[in-house]
């Protein structure tokens, strides 16, 4: 049945001028499947983050990430455990479907919680190669998608989807490699506003944990700065019933 459906789509794609529209529909569906793939009702990750500069010097960080999905909202809480200069720095992000996101930062040196500007998503998150925009899962409806081709990446069959932002973004274009089997995004090429490829995100290690496809090791490379950030999952737990209190901004202090 699914195969018939694909043939039907292929037929539609061949029929110009509606082929582009059909292709968009297919691309949107792929992106939505990637966005809505099963990643647990909630998740806990302990991550070792390594910042690597252009001379190969490495700086390591250890952090905990808690995420939980609600009906119209996704909450993420991040706490740095190491090194000492950023220990206990915490970040809480409340991503709404419709409204502007709300973000809080707790800096131990300041001794209090600070509301931070969520609309400035082009800023680097804690000096990593991830910007605040990269840290969030981008909703598919914010972009116009097009399947460019299908190809094998890292031994896995992938759709290659080009996404042009309809909504505000720091990038002019993203090209994503989406694994057909897991619906995981295995690679993203980010293009800056001048159309140059500026960053590359790659999943280096992919496996199932608690029957959920999990990117165990990822790398974000800044091609302009020749700097990269590697994130290795040290521990992961899904569907543990994370308490809502974890995401309570009044408990950040």
């Amino acid at each position: 049945m699914l195969r018939c459906y694909r043939y039907y789509l292929l037929l539609l794609m061949l029929l110009s001028p509606i082929s582009v529209f059909s292709q968009d529909l297919n691309a949107l569906r792929i992106m939505e499947e990637a966005f809505r793939r099963d990643d647990g009702r909630d998740a806990y990750f302990k991550i070792e983050m390594t910042l690597i500069d252009n001379t190969g010097n490495e700086r390591k960080r250890l952090l905990e990430v808690y995420t939980k999905d609600y009906a119209d909202l996704m909450k993420t809480f991040i706490r740095f455990l190491e090194p000492a200069d950023i220990k206990d720095t915490s970040f809480l992000s409340l991503e709404y479907n419709e409204d502007e996101d709300i973000q809080y930062l707790y800096l131990p040196a300041l001794g209090r919680v600070r509301r931070i500007v969520s609309s400035q998503k082009n800023l680097r998150f804690m000096n990593t190669d991830f910007t605040y925009e990269d840290m969030q899962r981008r909703r598919p409806e914010k972009d116009e998608h097009r399947v460019i081709c299908e190809e094998i990446f890292d031994g896995r069959q992938c759709y290659v989807v080009e996404s042009l932002p309809k909504d505000k973004s720091q990038y002019s274009k993203r090209v994503s490699w989406i694994d057909k089997e897991s619906r995981m995004i295995l690679k993203i090429d980010f293009y800056n506003k001048s159309g140059q490829k500026s960053k590359v995100f790659r999943v280096v290690d992919l496996d199932k944990r608690q029957n959920i496809w999990t990117a165990l090791k990822v790398v974000m490379e800044d091609l302009e700065d020749k700097h990269s950030t590697r994130m290795q999952v040290v521990e992961v737990k899904y569907n543990q019933g994370i308490n809502d209190d974890t995401f309570n901004p009044y408990k950040l202090e």
Binding site: A84, G111, H227
Partner: protein, 472 residues
């Protein structure tokens, strides 16, 4: 309730605190058992060394070089399953003042030391703690519960200056709000020095006269000048209890806090015993020959020459708010402080209600240049001519920061300018992060202004310093 405690009553106060401690342990009988099974320990801390160099040799008493070392050990024991944690921070300091007669000073302090119970609906912490209230940076509008150490004026940031003290913190977490109660059973004043050190308000004035070529009667008069503490305030009396209440919540896109505090003014104001004491205050604020002779001519008694460190009880009602607008962070604080201490223009002690409003705005550019500007307005109600305060005074604070080479180098510039009194402070700092845990900083302070202004009092204390800090 406010009964001055006798020795017996003092024991009752201690008993109350121990009773709360035992009560908490009794409420969580599993805590002790679990402690033996699964406590998690986390330790951290830092060690740093600062070498100060004064930029100018202004007087023979001033210490030109100064070396300071501090080590802090932070220990936290957490019993996850029962929501109990114990935190003990210790700080050791060693100071060397390099001059002809080299002084050395070392000490070990117990900083924060408390235990905390966290439950879904509430948290309770008892012990030595600090409080960080309000939304603005480095200014004191609502952040008044913790006293501060001004031994080195503002060479350390506000949070580092805070002095931990015994308190009970209770938080209730409701649906979309938090209600916080803080009870401080014992009063502790901010550490402000008046005479005899480089960073004291009246500097080395008394030493000048004692060692100068003055008649014996003058030296005798000045030698009898004393500053006395109010012993009632230092006693462990229920009269000295201070309370702070805060409600935090959110309306629309604005996070806000409502405050009520009933506390003592932690920075002392000098109160005279007699009217001759006002002549004494005139002299120490304007140390001219005429004012000195006017004081001596009165033949002051010891009582005349004794000034009392006054910390009046004050009530503060306030509000803070925080939001974001486009790419800007906006913060505000408003405090109505009742019966704040002032000096009239004849130097007599008086109290006035004061309204303080602060507004701050910050922004980070795409190039990661950060700026934070704050404007503070102070209005004294029921105004009469005061020394040195005007009816309305305005202050601007600026904080700029730029990271280079991915946080390897950080340049910050802090600036405070009192528009009304035209005194200012500038504090540039360049930090090189050799490793995340190891950094080297070169910094300096420039103070300018009139002799009786906040920053102007230290206009001869411009300095540069080198700091090495290692965190572990």
């Amino acid at each position: 309730m406010m009964i001055l405690l006798t020795h017996t009553n003092l024991s009752k106060l201690k008993f109350c605190f121990y009773a709360i401690f035992i009560y908490i342990l009794a409420l969580w009988p599993t805590a002790g058992a679990l402690a033996l099974i699964k406590p998690t320990y986390s330790g951290s801390g830092y060690i740093f060394n600062r070498v100060y160099q004064d930029t100018e040799d202004d007087n023979p008493y001033e210490k030109q070089q100064d070396i300071e070392a501090r080590i802090r050990l932070e220990n936290k024991l957490k019993f996850e399953d029962c929501g109990l944690s114990v935190k003990i921070n210790l700080e050791g300091r060693y100071e060397i003042l390099l001059n002809e007669g080299t002084d050395k000073e070392g000490d070990i302090f117990l900083k924060e030391a408390y235990f905390k119970i966290e439950k879904p609906k509430f948290s309770l912490a008892l012990g030595r703690q600090i409080v960080s209230w309000g939304k603005l940076d480095e200014v004191v509008v609502l952040d008044r519960l913790s006293p501060q150490e001004y031994k080195r004026f503002i060479l350390y940031g506000k949070e580092e200056r805070k002095i931990p003290q015994a308190m009970l913190k209770f938080n209730y977490f409701g649906n979309g709000y938090r209600f916080e109660t803080i009870v401080l059973p014992v009063f502790k004043a901010s550490d402000v020095r008046f005479f005899g050190s480089d960073w004291s308000i009246y500097n080395h004035l008394l030493d000048y006269i004692k060692d100068g070529k003055y008649p014996i009667v003058v030296k005798d008069t000045v030698g009898r000048i004393k500053i006395k503490e109010d012993h009632n305030l230092n006693s462990k009396s229920l009269d000295n209890i201070q309370v702070g209440l805060r409600l935090r919540s959110k309306i629309s896109d604005i996070d806000y806090g409502l405050y009520y505090m009933n506390l003592f003014h932690s920075i002392a104001t000098l109160r005279e015993n007699t009217t001759t004491g006002n002549i004494l205050k005139r002299f120490i604020n304007f140390p001219t020959e005429d004012n000195l002779l006017a004081l001596v001519a009165l033949g002051p008694t010891d009582r005349d020459l004794t000034l009392i460190l006054e910390h009046p009880r004050t009530q503060i009602i306030g509000i803070d708010a925080e939001t974001v607008l486009n790419t800007y962070g906006i913060r505000a604080e408003l405090a109505m402080c009742l019966e704040q201490p002032y000096l009239r223009d004849d130097f007599a002690y008086t109290q006035k209600d004061t309204l303080t409003i602060g507004i701050g705005l910050d922004h980070t550019t795409p190039g990661e240049f950060y700026f934070n500007i704050q404007f503070i307005e102070n209005c004294i109600l029921g105004y009469e001519p005061l020394f040195p305060d005007e009816r309305n005074s305005h202050q601007v604070n600026l904080n700029l920061s730029q990271n280079f080479f991915r946080d390897k180098f950080i340049f910050t510039l802090k600036h405070g300018y009192n528009l009304s009194y035209r005194d200012w402070m500038l504090n540039p700092k360049l930090t090189y992060k050799i490793k995340p845990e190891f950094e080297l900083s070169l910094s300096g302070f420039i103070f300018e202004g009139g002799a009786t202004t906040l920053f102007g009092r230290f206009r001869n204390k411009d300095l540069v310093y080198l700091e090495i800090r290692y965190r572990f």
